[in-house]
């Protein structure tokens, strides 16, 4: 058994069914081994898409997934996808080919120091020096990616090591013993008691749920906590889906681009319970004023998140599922109904001041109608830009999933991530929603979708601009638009035709619901273009 075969054997033992990648000479032995195995390889059209597809697959399967590229430019093309996964704590194992060991460091053809280049975007990385190390490296890589705060792990493997025969018989380790990595925090009983006491005393508690709740599979426990104790909840963009939109305890997404009433709820509370959220600038623009007004419990699996942005809080480090299971066993007084009443009142008295153009399609209505018409367990993948914020703001969450690149804000995420999600869950309805800018950033992936006959639905909000930058230039630079106009290309009907996809088009609110029905019912992959007036803004 050579190194490449050993790696593929490890993938099989990890239960990996599908990997996404792009070959090259430096990873050719690995591809030879994949071809002879039970692992399905899906060829993408550019390496970044391999990372995003594995990301979408990982978020739906809730397991570590794999992407693979060659050396040099193949590996560097993957960096944005690694940074995207790292920012959102998505578990990936990325395998990159490397030039022959004896050539490493000599700047030979297609050599890149990918470990050095990805240092700040991966949880950990390896350079394989000996084929005999492969089983324990692979085991560790999957372990590190999927435990504690999840994230991408990179394995760089030189071409000659892939070809080298193993000296020892192949044996996959049962467990991992790393003296520097102990991700399973035992929950500190004293801190837990302080948290319980603080919740008991609070008159106006509020949960702020982040993506960590979903990553830790803690939605049922958090939901039970909210329902049992009548504690209301707001979410960050990554926490959308912890509670359905129409849940009586849900009070919207907070932040710059969230619901004003969610922000008012935060400021009116007397105890904010932050769970699995980074308190990033878009969600909490002024952490200084928050920490002055509200007492905060900060629950996170990553102790370094505590105190990174927010000042004195009551910290509790641990796994969300475990913590809320424990909290649900405690008898807490039900939350004061006046508090819920106040929030209801805030919600209903907050007037949306935004003006919408009468022309073309109203993007807010579009997201509402689309998501209401989608299956209850459908997967909605929003790209980045105005489309993302209109989506997050208006998406009608039922029992499905809402995916987006929340941390890194990587344009072009939606199409490959939706492809990965659909590959993972072929029976579920998956819709990618993007703008005309983000669509064109991943347009090449239509080839992958067409070849694999993946019945993915892609909705493009077309306003001929990089809308969110345009909006920023309007407000911050006196409407001096610079470098943001996309004009009328491409001809989407022709693009759809080129890839044998269905094509739907809509330019008015009247025809929109019917057109969405036809689009969603289309047998096979389809693109729907909705014309949006460029004057529509997010804020």
């Amino acid at each position: 058994m050579n190194g490449a075969e050993a790696m593929v054997k490890c993938l099989e033992l990890e239960g990996i069914k599908t990997i996404f990648g792009y070959p090259g000479v430096a990873i050719a032995p690995f591809y030879d081994a994949v071809g002879k195995s039970s692992v399905r390889h899906i060829l993408v059209r550019q390496e970044q898409a391999a990372g995003h597809a594995a990301n979408g697959y990982a978020r739906i399967s809730r397991k570590t997934q794999v992407c693979v590229t060659s050396s040099g430019p193949g590996a560097t093309n993957l960096i944005t996808a690694l940074a995207t996964a790292y920012a959102d704590s998505i578990p990936l194992v990325a395998i990159t080919g490397q030039v022959d060991s004896h050539l490493v460091g000599r700047d030979v053809f297609q050599e890149a120091d990918i470990r050095g280049a990805t240092e700040s975007f991966v949880k950990y990385s390896y350079l394989v020096r000996n084929a005999d190390d492969i089983p324990h490296i692979m085991k560790e890589a999957f372990y590190i990616a999927s435990t504690g705060r999840k994230g991408p792990v990179l394995i760089d493997i030189p071409h000659d090591i892939q070809l080298a025969e193993m000296n020892k018989p192949f044996a996959y380790p049962e467990s991992v013993e790393m003296r520097g990595y102990k991700p399973n925090h035992k929950i500190n009983a004293q801190q837990m008691n302080k948290v319980i006491e603080a919740i008991r005393k609070a008159k106006k508690p509020l949960i702020c749920a982040g993506g960590g709740v979903i990553l830790g599979h803690g939605e049922p426990e958090v939901r039970e906590f909210c329902e049992k104790n009548r504690v209301p909840l707001v979410s960050t963009i990554m926490g959308i889906g912890v509670l359905p939109k129409n849940h009586s305890m849900y009070f919207g997404m907070l932040g710059n681009n969230g619901k004003p009433y969610a922000n008012r709820a935060v400021m009116s509370s007397d105890l904010l319970i932050i769970v699995g959220a980074r308190i990033a600038d878009r969600a909490v623009p002024k952490p200084e004023s928050l920490e002055k007004q509200v007492s905060v419990i900060h629950i996170d699996i990553d102790s370094a998140e505590i105190g990174k942005v927010l000042g004195p809080t009551l910290p509790l480090v641990g796994d969300v599922k475990e913590i809320f299971t424990m909290l649900n066993e405690v008898d807490l007084p039900k939350c004061d109904e006046n508090w819920i009443g106040t929030l209801e009142q805030i919600k209903h008295s907050t007037v949306d001041q935004r003006k919408w153009s009468e022309n073309k399609v109203n993007p807010m209505e579009l997201v509402k109608v689309l998501s209401e018409k989608m299956d209850p367990d459908a997967i909605y993948v929003a790209d980045v830009g105005q489309n993302q914020l209109w989506s997050a703001d208006n998406y009608v969450m039922k029992e499905g999933r809402f995916l987006t690149s929340g941390g890194m804000g990587t344009m072009g995420y939606s199409i490959p991530a939706a492809f990965g999600a659909k590959t993972c869950a072929p029976d579920k309805q998956v819709v990618a929603v993007c703008g005309d800018g983000s669509f064109q950033m991943s347009m090449y992936e239509l080839g992958t979708i067409a070849v694999n006959k993946t019945p993915l639905k892609i909705l493009v909000m077309k306003n001929r601009y990089l809308g969110l930058v345009r909006e920023h230039q309007e407000k911050a630079f006196g409407s001096r638009y610079s470098g943001v106009e996309l004009f009328d290309y491409p001809h989407y009907d022709k693009v759809a035709e080129a890839y044998d996809m269905g094509y739907y088009h809509c330019d008015s609110n009247e025809t929109m619901p019917e057109e969405i029905d036809r689009f969603l019912q289309h047998d096979g992959a389809a693109i729907m273009v909705c014309e949006i007036d460029a004057s529509n803004n997010v804020i």
Binding site: E119, Y124, L127, I144, G180, S303, I306, G311
Partner: protein, 157 residues
């Protein structure tokens, strides 16, 4: 405030760059960083001295702990640990003022490593403060060049 971290790390390639990269990326200060072997071949020891407010020093400890290659982080209190540094310093001196320089060396336990007609090289070790004091004492002779090792530190108990 000062943070002195005694960090045990896996002794393999790329670990130093991971640690220094962490400080650079997050805007943490490095006053000094010393790496060396320990009694175990596969473990290296780093002593990192940093300055920052309490929150920054706490964050440094947490981020160091997150690295899988970091085996152990100990935050050393200045009064409950022993810290040492070494310096080589070359100062100008002529036959006329050589004897006063020798006198400073003998009071402050500087060891004369080399003498030339126009300069003298001295080795000093001790606490960082002591080394700084020595520099002040010889500054007027003219410092030609000098090198400090940075602090190494061990907890007392």
């Amino acid at each position: 405030m000062k943070g002195i971290f005694s960090v045990l790390v896996e002794n393999h390639d790329g670990v130093l760059s991971q640690i220094s990269g962490l400080f650079a990326r997050r805007g943490f200060n490095i006053d000094s960083l010393v790496v060396g072997e320990t009694e175990q071949r596969d473990v290296s020891s780093m002593t990192i001295v940093s300055t920052g407010d309490q929150r920054t020093i706490d964050q440094i400890e947490k981020h160091l702990n997150k690295k899988p290659d970091v085996i152990k982080v100990r935050r050393l209190e200045e009064n409950r640990s022993v810290s040492m540094e070494m310096m080589l310093i070359k100062v100008g001196c002529t036959p006329a003022n050589r004897s006063t320089l020798i006198e400073i060396c003998s009071i402050m336990e500087g060891r004369i490593m080399h003498v030339s007609p126009r300069s003298m090289m001295i080795e000093v070790h001790g606490t960082p403060e002591r080394i700084s004091d020595f520099i002040e004492m010889v500054r007027s002779y003219g410092i030609i060049e000098m090198q400090r090792t940075g602090v190494i530190s061990l907890g007392r108990s």
